[in-house]
C-alpha cells in the first residue's frame, strides 16, 4: 500500500530534485522475456527511484499491437516486426525503432520418460505439421504425439512457424496441424509436458527446467543442446534475437531505460534469467 501511495505522489512530490528524471514507462509484450524485462525494470527503478516501470506480458503480438495503438512505451518482442505491422504503424504515425537486447534459443521439450533425446528440424517439421503422428517413428514408445504450441499472439509461435513448420521458406503456406494445442503461456506448456508422456512443446530456453527434457537439435547432422554457449556460437539451430521497440528515437525516461538495458548492469539481468547478452555474441566473432 505504501508503495502505491509513493507511486501516486512520485510525480507531484515536492521533495523531488528538479533534475531527477521522473516518469512512467509501460513495457509490454513477449512472454519469453517478461521475467528478464521485469528484472531489468526492478534494477532500473533502484537507480532511478522516481521513474516507475510497469512490465506486462501477453506475447510479442500484444506488445507490437499496443505500440501501434500507442498504449505502451516499449514493446518487447521475440520476433521481428512484420512488414505489414510496420506499414500499419506508419499509417498511425508510429515509427518503430528496433533494439536487439539479447539472444535466445528456442528449446523443444518432452516428458522425462520419453526415450527420444534428439531430433532434427526436419523431424520437428513432420511432427508439428501432423505428417508424423506417432513417437514410434522416432524410436520412441507407441504413443500418439501431442503437439503443444503457444497462442498466435506469441512471438515464439511465429518464429517456430517460420523456421520449423515452414522450414524458413518465405513462400511456404504450411501451418501447424489443426490438432496442435494452443496454450496460453509457456508455463502451461511446461505443466502439460510434465504430466503427459506423449507431449512435445517449444519455448524460450529460459523456461527449461529439471522437470522436463530439452531435446538436442540438429539442422544437418550435428546435434546441439539449447544452452548459452551454443547460442553464442550459433551452432544451436533455433537461435534468435530478442528485441525492444520504441516509437521513434527514445526520449527522456524511455531513453534512460533503453540505455540501462544495453548497459552491463542491464545485460547482467538477461544472463541471470537464462538469456545470452548482446555483447557475448559479438565477442565470440573475434
Amino acid at each position: 500500500m505504501s508503495v502505491l501511495i509513493m507511486l501516486i505522489f512520485a510525480g507531484c512530490g515536492e521533495d523531488v530534485d528538479p533534475n531527477e528524471p521522473v516518469g512512467f514507462i509501460q513495457v509490454k509484450g513477449s512472454d519469453t522475456i517478461v521475467n528478464a524485462s521485469q528484472k531489468v525494470a526492478e534494477e532500473f527503478m533502484k537507480d532511478y527511484p522516481h521513474v516507475f516501470v510497469a512490465v506486462t506480458g501477453g506475447g510479442s503480438g500484444v506488445g507490437i499491437a499496443s505500440l501501434i495503438n500507442k498504449t505502451c512505451d516499449v514493446a518487447t518482442a521475440s520476433r521481428e516486426m512484420k512488414p505489414k505491422e510496420k506499414e500499419m504503424a506508419e499509417e498511425r504515425g508510429v515509427f518503430p525503432n528496433e533494439f536487439t537486447v539479447a539472444y535466445d534459443g528456442v528449446a523443444v521439450i518432452v516428458n522425462k520418460n520419453n526415450p527420444v533425446d534428439k531430433l532434427t528440424i526436419e523431424d520437428f517439421h513432420k511432427i508439428f505439421t501432423g505428417k508424423a503422428t506417432n513417437w514410434k517413428e522416432f524410436g520412441g514408445k507407441d504413443l500418439d504425439i501431442v503437439t503443444l504450441s503457444r497462442e498466435v499472439s506469441s512471438g515464439t509461435h511465429i518464429y517456430f512457424k517460420e523456421e520449423v513448420v515452414q522450414l524458413g521458406k518465405k513462400n511456404s503456406r504450411e501451418e501447424f496441424s489443426a490438432q496442435t494445442l494452443l496454450l496460453t503461456s509457456s508455463q502451461t506448456i511446461v505443466e502439460e509436458v510434465v504430466t503427459n508422456e506423449a507431449a512435445i512443446g517449444y519455448l524460450g530456453m529460459g523456461y527449461v527446467s529439471e522437470r522436463t527434457k530439452a531435446l538436442l537439435v540438429a539442422k544437418g547432422s550435428d546435434f546441439y543442446p539449447p544452452d548459452v554457449n551454443n547460442v553464442i556460437k550459433k551452432t544451436y539451430p533455433l537461435s534468435r534475437p530478442l528485441y525492444f521497440y520504441t516509437n521513434g528515437e527514445p526520449q527522456g525516461a524511455v531513453k534512460l531505460f533503453i540505455d540501462f538495458t544495453m548497459s552491463p548492469k542491464g545485460q547482467q539481468q538477461f544472463i541471470e534469467t537464462g538469456f545470452v547478452p548482446v555483447g557475448a555474441t559479438v565477442a565470440s566473432k573475434d
Binding site: 495503438n69 498466435v152 489443426a178 494445442l181 505443466e191 504430466t195
Partner: protein, 289 residues
Amino acid sequence: MHRKISEYIIESLIRLSGFLVIIFVFLIFLFLLRDSLSLFRVYRVGEFLFGRNWLPISEPPKFGIVPLLLGSIYVTVGAIVICVPVGVGAAMFIAEVAPKPIKHILKSLVEILASIPSVVLGFIGIVWLSPFLKNTFNLPTGMCGLTGSLLLAFMALPTIISISEDALVGVPRTYKEAAFGLGATRWQALWRIILPAASSGIIAGVMLGIGRVIGETMVVMMVTGNSPVVPKSILQPLRTLTATIAGEMGETVSGSEHYFALFAVGLVLFVITFMINFIADSFLRRARK
C-alpha cells in the same frame, strides 16, 4: 401537490432506467454490427460462417468459424448434460427431502461454490482434472472438451440449484397436502406434482445456467487446449468462440482485418445468447399459462 411532483420524478426515473437497458442492448448490438460489417467488406460472409479453418495470422488469413462454433456447442452441451440432472436433483433434495440442519449447511455450501473464481477452477482443471481424465479415458491429452464441460457444469450448478430450489419451495403447500390426501407417496408427490408445478422456475434456472456456461471464457481457455480443429468428439481438444476472442484480442491492431473478425465472432456469440434467452422466455410464458 408536493407528493405528486416527487411521484412524477420517481416514475420518470424508473421509466428512464427501463429504457436505458433497452438502449444499451441496442447500442451494443449496433457497435458489434458496425465493426463486423467492416470485416465483410473484405472477407466473404459465406467463408466466415462456413469456413472450416481459423488461421488468423496466416497470409492470407482465414476466418472460418465452424471449428469455433462447434467447439462452443460441444462444451456447452456437455456441461448441460452433466449439470442439469445434478442441479435439479440437488435442488429437490434441499427443498423437499433434506432435514433442516443439513438443508442450511447445503444452502450455504452452494453459495460458497458460486463464489469460487473461475480462474481457480481453471487451475484445478490443469493440475488435477486434466491428468485424471487423461488416465481414466486413456486419452492422448487431458486438455479436451470434457474437462471444460465438467468445470463449466460445476460453475453453472449454484445458479441452477438456488433458482430451482426457490421455485420448488414456492409451490403452494396445498398442492402437496392434496397429493398426500389422495394417497400419493412422498416421491410421487415430489416427482408428479411439485416438480411440474415448479417447472417454469426450474427452466429459468437452467437457462440462466446455460447462459453462464456459453459465455464463460477463462476456464475453457485454460483447459480445452484451444486447437482450432473441427471436433469429432468431446474427448478432443477444441477451441471455443469466447477463448478465441480473449486469446487473440490483445494482439490485434485496432482497425485491422483480424480485429474486425473478432468482433464478428462476438456478434455470433451475442446472437446465440440472444436466441437462448428468447427461447427461455417463450418457454416461461408457455409454462405460466
